[in-house]
Amino acid sequence: MQPVATTFFFYFLAGLTLLSGVFVITRKNPVHSALALIFGLLAQAGLYLMLYAPFVAGVQIILYAGGIMVLFLFVIMLVNIERSQREEQFNKQWLVGLLAAIALGGLFVMVYVKGKALFPYPIAQPLENSNTQQIGVMLYGQYMFAFEIASLLLLVAIIGAVVMAKKRI
């Protein structure tokens, strides 16, 4: 693809991601927040594609946008959102929170400015078609133990969620 398109798509997707992030944390209605988050996640999947990480992008869509967000929407519908909308949206320490976040941002800026040399422009790499396969090999080879732990974690999470959410077990 031409460089122009790359630049355009990066700014477009990054802008979409950040904009949706802003919407997520400012909307009163959690459903609108969730909707914004979905768009943000999809835009991020686009960013992953631009980084030649198609498998992560696919997982992002299928798991995040298609799975986790459905869970969120479900819960939002179950809890009485109209009531929560009438409440105060931001807590009392919002100023402190904002300051902390800005401080964190300053830290990031400092790190990036100081360590700019560490992050070179990536050399034009060939299209990695077997990327997905290598990830698979890694998951089932080098990271086998972590993979199994992750599956255990999911099992625990399932049980935990069921125990928490069920009325009578």
Binding site: L18, L104, G160
Partner: protein
Amino acid sequence: MAPIGTLHYLVTAAALFILGVIGVLTRRNVVIILMSIELILNAVNLNLVAFSRLWGLHGQVFAIFVITDAAAEAAVGLGILIAFFRNKETVNVDEVDLLKW
């Protein structure tokens, strides 16, 4: 326009991370706090994937682990939320002030 390098992605991720932090620190609705945590995790993911472009695929593998973790976190978090809501009839995080009910 400058070509898009790793730094661009890092800055995007950092901004997203900060947005997530602001959300967690300032909102009162538990659902939105959980969503902000997702934002934070996504920012981390973006970083990992961007780095994997430079230093091999380990970043992508980790991103997958992070997504797994996010799924588990969302499930348990929302489960707790439902249990909480059933008892207190609110999703306001400031109301979570009892160890036991």
